[in-house]
């Protein structure tokens, strides 16, 4: 991975783009800001930026700037494939680098459907607040990796970037050879003219190409013309991840760098009351003690010395309002709010409430899920260097635009003097959308000016001060019609609002009470056809920060709705697959996934005594995923998860092996939560502290996973998150099939099961 070197900037500006506003992609530039200026600032001697995504050097090396964070989801490779496909570059010789932070790289797809700015699923309320958030989202232009959106967002602009770059190279070759551009063909990075036999590499024309003017609306390949997209390609980042050379945030090494370790308020949200710096000032390597709002840091010449000293440092804290809360009490509070009269409706068809109240018999169930931590393998870290005039940040993060804004704010320096570097992320899962680390690191580094300060959290800091997936409770009620299908369906969800909590962290002065689609995603938008339907959410405010956790609201709503579909199937004495299919008459894409799943999992073939299977089907981030889980369960409630079958329809597939890998990953992530995941809070203090008490699936208990791709021709869907939502419901449904016991609370230990 090439590191940006802003001191060796070289300004060769592609002529096609100067003054042209936006070369490719969406109209997100401010007036007078050439699209490729940010990338041009990173070019080396003999290299040009043909647009904001593509650089070529005189030796023909193609560098693709990736404006998203690589956290294991394969985004470097997938986005580079989009460029290489249209550019007809030689993919095996192409390199990628992290793009700088610039407006042109804003993620539009995520704004459209993942953050609170969207009104996609929300019905029944048209507030000024919602409108304002939508406008804000369009204006901000945030560079963010999340919401399983990277390929969906890049699909047009990065292919256009490749096509435009190719057209510029072709134009330069045509001018040199004095032949019409249309007579030049490009294959694997080689330009050739059939009539004259002339040929040359990208490098022969790179410098000339930069001053060519070409159409900014190039004709893109039809999918039938793709030679790279849709083929399994080895990931570009993998070689560096098997020989130890991959550079994660925690690996940053800088001249004069010092290390910071922190002690944080045991009670969530508490503040530092007092500390005694003199107690540690003579310990080895200690350079400085720095108090800040939520804790105190020791800066030392090594992390180990900083950590040893900060642990020995006497400190007291003011507890704050979370002191009044424990996780058990919170679940009770959420359950009590099932009776609240203050809910927000997210889906309503007919009068489901009346239909259920008037029915002679209705099926009712209440489900509960706990707070969860992200537990990225790379503990949270941020390296910051503050000078009198600027600040430079090295941080594994998912949202460099916000990191830049908050570094600027805390360091109190001009915006143009803020530089943010995003190295590889050792896991993200939504945790690295947060700004807490950059705020803390800059506040500490301000007290040690002109030296890079690497703030590293311990695993205990990470688990106990995570920004958690919220606990949630849901009540589901349903009635069956005389045809054996569901007639009325009512689903009330109670939880904190993730988007509300996140927005309050970004804009603490704003008091906004706006719809949050993440609370009901995967509940309000399920495909099943019912006569009447009501889905509403009761927002509960708590002094505990909650955040985006892989698949966000889908992570619990899929468990609620797909468990209850199974309960309704049982009430109807129907096979769970047949029962679902009966509610999907007008959704052939969902039915297709389910039928393929039934086939590959041998659904109709009985399993041996002691074994059982369960099914779940769920759409998230525009991809449909069906999963069948096979378990072995004994009379002592000991469970082994033997095998998971997974079918996904994510529309167009860029790198099929990455889609499979992301399904495997999402399944293990969701299964880990279902089997073990639970953050326990007592009087505002998180009781879990490290992996022994926040357990993970390991090799010994990881099931075999078989993934099938079933593209139906639907538009692009995401893949980073959609593997996670269905697995807990599929597991609970398998447990019911095997034991007759309905699991309505996670993790499984809540019902006495052991994995």
């Amino acid at each position: 991975m090439t590191k940006l070197n802003l001191t060796r900037r070289k300004f060769i500006v592609g002529g096609a783009l100067v003054g042209g506003g936006l070369a490719v992609g969406y109209g997100f530039l401010r007036d007078g800001d050439p699209a490729n200026a940010a990338l041009t600032a990173t070019t080396m001697e003999g290299e040009v930026a043909l647009n904001a995504w593509v650089k070529v050097d005189k030796d023909g090396l193609v560098t693709v700037a990736i404006p998203r964070s690589e956290m294991g989801q394969g985004v470097y490779t997938a986005l580079a494939m989009l460029v290489a496909e249209e550019m007809d570059a030689n993919f095996s010789e192409l390199v990628v680098e992290q793009a700088p932070v610039a407006d042109v790289y804003a993620n539009i797809a995520v704004m459209k459907d993942a953050l609170p700015f969207s009104d996609k699923h929300h019905e029944g309320e048209d507030t000024i607040g919602a409108w304002g958030m939508a406008k804000l989202g369009q204006f901000l232009g945030v560079q963010v990796t999340g919401g399983s959106s990277s390929v969906r967002d890049a699909w047009l602009p990065m292919r256009q970037a490749g096509a435009t770059a190719k057209a510029m190279l072709v134009a330069a070759a045509a001018r040199t050879w004095d032949v019409p551009p249309a007579e030049i063909s490009v294959t694997n990075g080689v330009l050739s003219h059939g009539g004259s036999g002339m040929s040359g590499g990208f490098g022969d024309f790179a410098i000339l190409a930069a001053s060519e003017t070409v159409s900014l609306d190039p004709v893109l390949k039809k999918s039938s013309e793709f030679t790279l997209i849709g083929t399994p390609q080895p990931r570009l980042d993998i070689p560096s991840k098997v020989d130890g050379t991959a550079e994660f945030g925690v690996d940053i090494e800088l001249d004069g760098m010092v290390h910071a370790a922190v002690k944080l308020s045991p009670v969530l949200g508490g503040t530092l009351a007092s500390h005694d710096a003199s107690a540690v000032k003579d310990m080895p390597g200690v350079l400085k003690v720095v108090p800040f709002e939520s804790g105190v840091a020791v800066i030392a010449d090594s992390f180990w010395r900083a950590k040893t000293a900060v642990e020995a440092l006497p400190a007291t804290f003011n507890d704050g309002p979370a002191k009044e809360f424990s996780s058990g009490g919170i679940l009770t509070l959420l359950e009590e709010n099932l009776e609240s009269e203050d809910s927000r409706i997210y889906a309503e068809t007919g009068d489901a409430r009346a239909a259920i109240d008037e029915a002679q018999s209705a099926v009712k169930a209440v489900y509960k899920v706990p707070f969860l931590a992200h537990a990225c393998m790379e503990p949270m870290n941020c390296t910051a260097m503050v000078t009198d005039t600027g600040v430079e940040i090295w941080m594994p993060n998912q949202v460099p635009t916000l990191i830049k804004w908050f570094a600027e704010k805390i360091a109190d320096v001009p915006a143009e003097n803020v530089i943010v570097h995003t190295p590889l992320l050792g896991g993200g899962f939504g945790r690295r959308l947060e700004i807490d680390l950059v705020i803390m690191a800059v506040a500490i580094a301000k007290e040690m000016k002109n030296r890079p300060v690497k703030l590293l959290w311990t695993r205990e800091n990470d688990i106990q001060h995570d920004i958690f997936r919220p606990a949630a409770v849901s009540r589901l009620e349903g009635t069956l019609g005389s045809d054996g299908r569901i007639s009325a369906w009512a689903n009330r969800i109670v939880s904190q609002s993730v988007s509300g909590s996140y927005t309050a962290r970004l804009l603490p002065w704003a008091t906004m009470d706006v719809p949050d689609n993440t609370t009901s995603e995967g509940a309000a938008d399920i495909p099943y056809e019912f006569t009447s339907r009501l889905v509403d959410h009761v927002p509960v405010k708590l002094p505990i920060e909650v955040g985006f956790w892989r698949s966000v609201g889908h992570s619990y709503n899929a468990f609620f709705t797909e468990s209850f579909m199974d309960e309704m199937a049982y009430a109807a004495r129907a096979d769970p697959v047949d029962f679902r299919l009966a509610h999907l008459e007008n959704h052939p894409d969902f039915a297709n996934v389910l039928k393929q799943l039934a086939k590959v999992s041998n659904w109709s073939t009985p399993l041996d005594q002691g074994r059982a299977r369960g099914v779940a089907l769920h759409e998230s981030f525009s991809s449909i995923v069906g999963q069948v889980v096979e378990i072995t369960v004994n009379g002592d409630k000991e469970i082994t998860v033997d095998k998971v079958y997974c079918v996904i329809d994510c529309g167009a597939v860029v790198n099929p092996d990455t889609v499979k890998a992301q399904m495997e990953s999402g399944i293990v992530f969701g299964l880990t939560a279902a089997l073990y995941g639970e953050i326990e809070i007592e009087d505002g203090v998180v009781l879990n502290s490290n992996f022994p008490d926040y357990e993970m699936i390991r090799l010994a208990n990881c099931p075999e996973i078989e993934v099938h791709l079933a593209p139906s021709g639907r538009l692009l869907g995401g893949v980073g998150e959609p593997g996670t939502p269905p697995i807990a419901a599929a597991l609970a449904n398998a447990i019911f099939a095997g034991t007759g016991e309905r699991l309505r609370e996670l993790p499984i230990s809540r019902a006495g099961f052991i994995a």
């Binding site: 393998m377 050792g426 205990e460 495997e664 990953s665 992530f669 992996f691 390991r698």
Partner: protein, 154 residues
């Protein structure tokens, strides 16, 4: 001063004797391939070899490594990749990749002891955590590495 033999090079380090080997490797010597994951020997991201045995260096005092031969991920990564690394690429194992140095070190020590492991042997011995859930591929890659090493008896 403590004298350490790391990847067949001698280093003299001036650190407290109870400093975990991990932090000496990373911060004192500058070998960043070995990762910090938990600090309590629970996840295995910090696995290195001490006299050929896999140890979790976050909980291994540097003083205990004096007089031994320490090998890190950098030490097994020469011009040629070793069979475990090759298998890791062929099976496209890593995702975020943060745990994989430790995985590869744990597996290479394991295969040196057991050249033809069963599924049970693998499950019992490789207890490192991968949060991305690459375990199905790790299982395949271990079998492939064993075959590449020529240890598999047909």
């Amino acid at each position: 001063m403590l004298r350490l033999d790391i990847n067949s090079e001698l280093h003299e380090v001036d650190v407290e004797e109870d400093t975990p080997l991990l932090w000496v490797l990373r911060d004192t010597i500058g070998l960043k391939g070995t990762k910090f994951g938990c600090g309590v020997a629970a996840c295995g991201a910090c696995t290195v070899h001490v006299d050929g045995e896999a140890v979790r260096s976050c909980s291994y005092p540097v003083s205990g490594a004096v007089g031994t031969k320490i090998t890190t991920i950098e030490g097994i990564s020469g011009e040629m990749l070793n069979p475990v690394q090759l298998a890791w690429i062929q099976e496209q194992v890593p995702q975020c990749g943060y745990c994989q140095s430790g995985m590869i070190m744990a597996v290479s020590a394991f295969l040196a002891e057991n050249s033809n492991p069963s599924d049970e042997d693998i499950a019992d011995s490789i207890t490192n955590i991968c949060r991305c859930g690459t375990y199905p591929r790790i299982k395949r890659a271990i079998k492939r590495a064993a075959a590449l090493q020529g240890g598999v008896q047909e």
